[in-house]
């Protein structure tokens, strides 16, 4: 504990809190304790300022005009792509496609990469801890094209079962689709190892980095990963934007996703040709103002000492883990070594929704439910869990409020 506290001391969460206006608000007369960043993170002032400033001084549609504002907006939009390239350490900015979110990015891969060639019996390997966004697009391929989903289990502590992964990847596997970090268990998957094993069998890998990219630096080249997905609103950025990283060789071969302006080369009555990537996959007016906000959010993150931030988040998790350890009526789900700062649990005699309601009245925002991970709920034989997820702006005081709220809930619901 001491060592950890020492490391985390190098990140000043109190100072960071001041960047997030919403964190100083009250709910029901109590200070807000926001432990739902896993669902969506709050946005620092610089992000909101940048979006507003841009919208009221440089806004126009992109890629379409030669006039000043259009040029300025296009510059900002393309600069955002380069910021993202830097954030994910991609080889080329052309390997980054802006989407409306993480979900759309995964659908893009299902639709444009897999669907054109998938055959009945072809297999997609995925883990039982995937978010629905990394399940449903593959179910579509099952329903409509006869693909087979091969599920890789997790161990009881929430670790991915690597032997099961090896066993699942076979000659018919067309893709491994795996989360970088579970939004329920907090488990971080060994992506590099997974990619190596899959590539050894000639199988490409998609990582759902919607959670993973928030809590650790990502280097898509070092990972040698084929597809990597992020979403803006969890990265302290705006809603309405996400992105797909894909290796150029894949993008070049992928067919268009949505059709419309910007993604074409030439349109005639009876024939059509398409633009090169990434434009080919960005039909219509893109999330322009959102791209500006996302770039600032990524810059905000990159300007921090991310190792220190990670240490801080781990400290919060360890502290919370230790504190809930005193409650013998509470069962934590997910205890993988090195896991990210997410704490899911069940409490005897207290349904997750009742618990969340009571915590809410204490100002403590947690999530209750299946967390868009019903397959995982089934794996752990629960209908729902409560989840506290920690972000860079959380503190030990937030954990204390959670613990206090849990005791109160127990008092009301069990001893009441």
């Amino acid at each position: 504990m001491t060592a950890q506290s020492k490391i985390s001391a190098s990140f000043d969460a109190e100072k960071a809190r001041a960047d997030f206006e919403i964190l100083s608000r009250q709910v029901y007369g109590k200070p807000l304790v926001y432990l739902d960043s896993g669902a969506s993170a709050q946005k620092p002032r610089v992000v909101l300022d940048a979006m507003r400033d841009f919208a009221q001084s440089e806004y126009a549609n992109v890629h379409r005009g030669v006039h000043f504002l259009s040029a300025a907006a296009t510059d900002r939009y393309e600069a955002a792509r380069r910021t993202l390239q830097k954030f994910l350490k991609a080889a080329s900015e052309d390997e980054l496609v802006f989407t409306k979110g993480g979900t759309e990015a995964i659908n893009l891969v299902a639709h444009s990469y897999l669907m054109p060639t998938i055959q009945p019996g072809d297999e997609i390997v995925l883990s039982v801890m995937e978010h629905h966004s990394n399940i449903v697009p593959w179910h579509f391929l099952r329903e409509r094209h006869g693909a087979v989903l091969r599920w890789v289990d997790v161990r009881d502590d929430g670790c991915l079962d690597m032997d099961a992964l090896d066993a699942a990847i076979g000659p018919k596997t067309k893709l491994v689709a795996i989360t970088h970090m579970s939004n329920v268990l907090g488990t971080i998957t060994p992506l590099k190892d997974i990619v190596a094993r899959a590539h050894a069998k000639g199988v490409p890998v998609l990582a759902d980095g919607c959670q993973g990219a928030v809590h650790q630096p990502v280097d898509v080249q070092a990972l040698d990963i084929d597809f990597y997905v992020i979403t803006g609103h969890k990265l302290y950025g705006p809603t309405g934007i996400g992105a797909l990283y894909a290796k150029k060789a894949h993008l070049k071969k992928m067919r268009p996703f949505n059709g419309g302006g910007e993604m074409i080369r030439e349109v005639a009555r009876d024939r059509i040709t398409y633009a090169d990537p990434p434009a080919r996959f960005e039909a219509g007016t893109p999330p322009i103002i959102e791209s500006v906000g996302l770039a600032v959010a990524l810059d905000y993150l990159m300007a921090l000492d991310r190792t220190a931030v990670a240490a801080h988040e781990h400290d919060l998790l360890a502290y919370a883990r230790q504190q809930v350890g005193q409650f013998n009526w509470l069962r934590v789900i997910g205890d993988a070594p090195g896991k990210g700062a997410i704490l899911s649990f069940e409490a005897d005699g207290m349904h997750a929704h009742d618990l969340a309601t009571i915590l809410d009245r204490e100002g403590v925002a947690v999530r209750a439910g299946h967390h868009c991970a019903q397959v995982l709920m089934e794996r752990f034989s629960v209908a729902s869990t409560s989840r506290a997820s920690f972000a860079l702006y959380n503190t030990r005081a937030d954990v204390d409020a959670l613990i206090g709220g849990l005791s109160k809930a127990r008092e009301i619901l069990v001893h009441g």
Partner: protein, 147 residues
């Protein structure tokens, strides 16, 4: 302690949720339906035996869920037993109004008194679905659940 919370989790509610009345499956049910709340994964099954006149001759429920949904289901079966379809419909409408904080003066005085303990839910709009799950499931059972 938050008074809205205290009202929501009244002893009566907690008692109903811990010791639900008429809990369990029913052999020989004439109607049956399963309700599901996708938000939380809660599930409830309502079993009905309707008399030839449509009266609720018997009713039971089964399922897992939060205190609110369990208590609501338990009170519902308690109160529906013996009612005609028209009476049941009136009770349901009154209940729906009550938990949404709307005017429930249609209810008989006795019904209103019994249901009053659920009135606190109107302060918790996100939980209204929990309270109404069993009722919607009952309705489904009657309309489409003939076994």
């Amino acid at each position: 302690m938050d008074s809205a919370l205290r009202e929501l989790y009244q002893e009566v509610i907690l008692d109903h949720s811990r010791h639900p009345r008429h809990y369990g499956a029913m052999d020989g049910a004439s109607h049956k339906a399963e309700g599901y709340n996708p938000l939380c994964g809660d599930r409830v099954t309502v079993y009905l035996l309707l008399g030839p006149d449509g009266r609720v001759a018997d009713i039971k429920f089964e399922g897992k869920g939060c205190a609110i949904s369990q208590a609501s289901a338990s009170m519902m079966v308690d109160m529906l037993k013996g009612r005609s379809q028209a009476e049941a419909e009136k009770l349901m409408q009154g209940f729906l109004h009550l938990v949404k904080g709307e005017d429930a003066s249609d209810l008989s005085e006795d019904d209103r008194e019994r249901l009053e303990v659920m009135g606190g839910i109107s302060e918790f709009p996100m939980r209204v679905k929990c309270a109404t799950l069993a009722w919607h499931t009952y309705k489904n059972a009657v309309e489409e659940g003939a076994t």
